[in-house]
Symmetry: none
Subunit: 218 residues, 4 copies
Amino acid sequence: MNPPAGRTSRTGRPGRPRSPEADLAILAATRAALVELGWSKLTMGDVAARAGVAKTTLYRRWAGKSELVVDAVAALFDAHLDLPDRGSLQADVEDVVLRFAALLERPETKTALMAVVAESTRDDALRARIRSAIVDRQKTLVLLGRERAQARGELPYEADPVTAARNADLIFDVIAGAVVHRALVSAEPVDPDWARAFTALLVAGLRAALPQPPPEGR
Amino acid sequence: MNPPAGRTSRTGRPGRPRSPEADLAILAATRAALVELGWSKLTMGDVAARAGVAKTTLYRRWAGKSELVVDAVAALFDAHLDLPDRGSLQADVEDVVLRFAALLERPETKTALMAVVAESTRDDALRARIRSAIVDRQKTLVLLGRERAQARGELPYEADPVTAARNADLIFDVIAGAVVHRALVSAEPVDPDWARAFTALLVAGLRAALPQPPPEGR
Amino acid sequence: MNPPAGRTSRTGRPGRPRSPEADLAILAATRAALVELGWSKLTMGDVAARAGVAKTTLYRRWAGKSELVVDAVAALFDAHLDLPDRGSLQADVEDVVLRFAALLERPETKTALMAVVAESTRDDALRARIRSAIVDRQKTLVLLGRERAQARGELPYEADPVTAARNADLIFDVIAGAVVHRALVSAEPVDPDWARAFTALLVAGLRAALPQPPPEGR
Amino acid sequence: MNPPAGRTSRTGRPGRPRSPEADLAILAATRAALVELGWSKLTMGDVAARAGVAKTTLYRRWAGKSELVVDAVAALFDAHLDLPDRGSLQADVEDVVLRFAALLERPETKTALMAVVAESTRDDALRARIRSAIVDRQKTLVLLGRERAQARGELPYEADPVTAARNADLIFDVIAGAVVHRALVSAEPVDPDWARAFTALLVAGLRAALPQPPPEGR
DNA sequence: AAGTAAACGAGACGGTACGTCTAGTCTTACC
DNA sequence: GGTAAGACTAGACGTACCGTCTCGTTTACTT
């Protein structure tokens, strides 16, 4: 018997299915180990032991430490993807900055993020994984914030979609880069004062450097 | 390794004089190994072999891999500390951005910088070493650029030295962060177009946001 | 392959019966793997794959590698259990020696026999299995040869059955032991010359050392 | 013993010399592990732990389990190389048989000997190692026993050295093979009764089957 | 024709050991 | 005392098999 229509899912594959509990346990164990040990002391064997799982089960799912950690950390970033409307561009950006900083202050992300980025400089597959699992999702916040600002009339609509995408990339690099650099390289706190000053600089720049806003609102 | 001529140096004690050649050879070997292997595959034994030196000699001078690599890449950053006056703030900043980006494109820095930063999130001594060897030296460029812009009348003089330092830190985090993020996380080229767009955003922000800060409450 | 017709076996057991083809395929695959890989490199998974069978099917039938191999090589020994009458004790023993040696020269037995014997030094059940599947069957040849020699008058009849059994064991250990040692430990060929010399020594000893010499001495 | 004059190697080699204590500790640990666990359960890691040594130290000296075990049991065989003169060929042979059997009854040899022989069927280097470390040394006992018997007039002198060597090989295979087969395959005790019966068979065969003894005794 | 029970293939699972690699230390002889 | 060479302990690496366990499917012998 064949599945009548959508043959994609079903249980088609033979053999024992992979345990979904194991996936969750491994990712949780990875995060716990990151908090306790940091990236460089984290070992696959230790993660397996914490998850109550054999090492082979890890390697069946992830190619190595980097891939595992990316997925483990990605889950944390997912939790911060909602962006309440604070009423103004300045307030929205401040909000994003502080939420992103709060994430970077967590020991599991602080120690892991730079490490996987470092690893990715030599591994294109890993870089793609980081991008799709972490970076691109955060970028949606930039797009959302811009739309709102445009709706409010704080920012002009950009006619050319290529220019629009390029600007979004630029703004994302500026926000994410500045926060990361402040938090991890300069090792100074990203507190509300800093967020306000940084956002003021950025918003002023946006208003002044982007083409004139259209006369009419929406 | 042959000492170039007869005796290396003239001291009453035996043993000491090998140092200078060994230091340079080790640092050069470290950079070469970084280019070929990247941070994670670089090993102390390999560096020692490339430098024609015993592992003992490495450990007598550096505490570990991270320390060695920081010193090895720090030398590269030193070479970029001069800042020719391009005549305007916009041109000066573009120049800094492109020079910094050129440095980050080099394989030995690309792979090493994020790695030692990651390592430093758990090691204060290492963070201090990175700061003094790399970060703080780059920051002088920001101070120099601001002075020139103030002298040209492009930026106001900041009365309060605390605010002035805070602003310098902010600008430095924005510039360095954005470039690093663009180059290593987004993995897009930092080309003159991007540099111009980024600089325009920053300079516009500085002009609009700086003038009236000190007595702000809000 | 389908069972030719009607009911193949006659079992009251419910459920699907075990596949007899699988048994044969597994034993053949085991022998093939022994030839190619030798005992220590032979793996259950490989045997299963060669036999076109799942690992579970192996373990449903045999407890482990040793048991499987014993059964796989036992079949080879069965094929050599007929002993043509060569007309004299000397000729009969030479024949047995050469046939046994021919078996030991086969790569699948050469590599497997010592290995399972080694394993059996710590496993009584395995030793019993080897004994009943291989050793005891060969011993019947000794008994048969003695009977013939006695019928020919070459050897005396032994009155005491206990002594008779003990002598048979001794002769079996001498023949099998010498051939095995020559072939596997000394690693020298068991050729007709050696067989003749060895048999001469043994037969002379039997004639001289057994209790009652036959009517004709030497 | 110290090489008083002709220094074999000197310490010419640079670097730290290998620890002789480690060698002894490893071999002793291997024998202990053999007694407790047997060949198949013995692991390199366990031996290293027992010896208080890192695994790398084992692998620096031996290529694998087989090589290590051969060397470890070879030492035991060395201890049995003296052969007191019991006054007659029969007594000498009985003595050898019982001493050899005593060695085979020891758990470390029982489990190891067959295993390394099995392994050697696929590894010529290993077979050579077994030969030189164990087999050939035992063969000297056969040569010694024959010399004594010839001196006593119990056995004839063999004129042709080739024949003499061939006979020694044959006798060795018979003795060693029979004892090993009795002890390990038949798994019956090699007690004085069996030794006497076996020796009687062998000695009678030797007297009858070898060429005429020289007319004069001694 | 439907039901039942075992065997079957596939492959994931918890384990254990493998043999290799690297870090960082220690020991030797030389200079 | 500094050095080159290399042995040392400690422990992670990623792989290979082990023998067991699910799965979903197939194949007989009942009812």
